[in-house]
């Protein structure tokens, strides 16, 4: 099976939707791929079903009227030649031949290992939030959240509004850094308002800066957590723990397409084109910047792809959101104490059960893979690779196809798609 399009957009979060809308409205044949069953990405998860977010509603409505085609449950697994993607969709697969591509693959949470982090009931901060949005029963459950930045409050607000009892919010940033960051937010009116709304709902929840989780405890699932709060220890019984430290871009598809990356972000020019011609990158791939950055850069890339003029306000907005992104990166940088929580027995790679002690003597990610099987399991290092980079400064190796576990048949290029003659097997 195959698809042909002028523009393929990988990821249907705000950045992908904005790009798809602009390009399709200008007349391009646009195909949008996303691994989720609905458009909206992580930040607008569930909004396609039960919209309470007006911005999400506006973009999702615009998207369904734009003429862009949407393939849910579609995961890019390989890019065998320029202009071709191989995609797995449930039990079947297909190839996409495209003229241009916009990569809008968003971000994932940064997990750092600590004793007990593999217990059921310990999730990411946004991980727990999306499961609650997806129907996880949280009413009356006791929840502790530990992490950093605006996501922590967003998760707390969702859990609170679904009837969960948020026992504690531990913000790892120092008080000075945190309040300095908060004071900067007034320059960003939309974000300030969001922050104020969240805080108003959560005034009764104990919150501390200079606070983080040191251990999760339980037999078959989470029963309690230990926190370090400004130098003293707290012990809390709870049902769920959300613990993660900010976001990192999902660079796998960009790397698969050989896009250059620098300092953990995709390198683009002022047309948001990567070093690979006709491939653009938007949103979190440019460095974590949230919904505003995703929408602005998505619109820009969509207009560029459709060879439309770019309004000056959009250019100006992009520079404004970049400033916010830089402040966020400083605020969310994990503090040194977080890098020393894991004991020798603590697993770093959850797929292959590789404990910290197995990495003694390893100098880089390659050695850790070869000698200890770090990152060799189902998630292909998406979780432990990011942790190892934060803990040891090891940077990721090249991404090789398939970039996700895939069936062997999905890797065959249909003969009517390839531009070069292939031998039939």
């Amino acid at each position: 099976m195959r698809e042909v399009c002028d523009l393929v957009v990988v990821g249907a979060g705000p950045g992908g939707l904005a790009a798809a809308c602009r390009a399709a409205e200008a007349g391009l044949d646009v195909l949008v791929l996303d691994a989720q069953p609905e458009p909206g990405g992580q930040v607008w998860r569930g909004e396609a079903r039960q919209g309470s977010n007006r911005l999400a509603r506006r973009w999702l409505t615009r998207f369904s009227a734009s003429g862009a085609r949407f393939r849910p449950g579609a995961r890019v697994i390989a890019a065998p030649e320029p202009g071709v993607l191989l995609v797995e969709e449930g039990p079947s697969s297909f190839a996409v031949r495209y003229g241009r591509a916009v990569l809008a693959t968003g971000a994932r949470e940064r997990f750092l290992p600590f004793p007990g982090w593999t217990l059921p009931g310990v999730l990411g901060v946004s991980g727990l939030q999306v499961l609650v949005k997806d129907g996880l029963p949280i009413r009356g459950k006791r929840v502790v959240l530990a992490g950093t930045g605006p996501l922590l409050l967003a998760a707390a607000a969702t859990i609170h509004s679904h009837g969960g009892e948020v026992l504690y919010i531990a913000e790892q940033a120092s008080a000075a850094s945190h309040w300095g960051f908060a004071l900067q937010l007034w320059r960003q009116p939309a974000k300030l308002l969001q922050g104020a709304l969240m805080s108003a709902k959560l005034v009764s929840v104990p919150t501390s800066t200079d606070a983080w989780v040191t251990a999760a405890e339980g037999e078959r699932r989470l029963e309690a957590v230990r926190l370090s709060v400004r130098g003293r220890e707290e012990h809390l019984h709870c049902d769920y723990l959300g613990a993660a430290y900010g976001l990192v871009p999902n660079l796998e598809v960009a790397r698969l397409l050989s896009c250059e990356t620098s300092a953990g972000a995709v390198v683009v020019d002022d047309r948001l084109e990567t070093r690979v011609p006709k491939v653009h990158a938007v949103g979190e791939l440019l460095g974590i910047g949230g919904v505003d950055q995703a929408l602005v850069t998505g619109e820009l890339a969509g207009l560029v792809a459709a060879e439309q003029p770019v309004p000056l306000e959009l250019e100006r907005s992009w520079h404004r959101v970049r400033t916010f992104a830089a402040q966020l990166a400083r605020h969310d940088a994990p503090r040194a104490e977080l890098l020393r929580l894991a004991t020798p027995d603590t697993l770093l790679c959850r797929c292959e059960d590789v404990p910290m002690s197995a990495l003694e003597g390893c100098q880089n990610l390659r050695e850790a893979r070869l000698y200890a099987r770090l990152g060799m399991g189902a998630c292909q290092g998406r979780t432990c690779g990011t942790a190892a980079q934060t803990l040891f400064g090891w940077t990721g190796e090249d991404v090789r196809p398939p970039c996700l576990p895939a069936r062997i048949g999905s890797l065959r290029i249909p003969s009517d798609v390839s531009s070069t003659p292939t031998r039939e097997s």
């Binding site: 079903r49 997990f111 999730l123 999306v130 499961l131 979780t383």
Partner: protein
């Protein structure tokens, strides 16, 4: 926050490890797993329990056999009527 509007067919019933679970339409399988006795999606190499972690299709902790298809991520799969979910835990 506004409560969601009532739906027409508002619930679906699926089986997770042989147990019937009835959930609102739109619930993901990973979220429905929390309605069983345990929130366990698999066992690690030493037999210790694991549950969903990332909720976003990144960590693969919530992989299960769904309607006979192995290695499907529960967090990216909506619950459907008569769906059969088998975890390896």
């Amino acid at each position: 926050m506004r409560e969601p509007a009532p739906k027409k067919a508002s619930v679906v019933t699926l089986r997770i490890n042989g147990r019937e679970v009835t959930v609102p339409v739109g619930t993901s399988v990973a979220a429905a797993l929390a309605m069983t006795d345990s929130f366990v999606s698999r066992a690690d190499l030493s037999g210790r329990p694991r549950g969903p972690l990332c909720g976003m299709g990144v960590c693969f902790e919530c992989r299960a056999t769904i309607d006979g298809v192995p290695e499907v991520l529960m967090c990216l799969t909506p619950c459907r009527e008569d769906q059969t979910v088998v975890t390896d835990a």
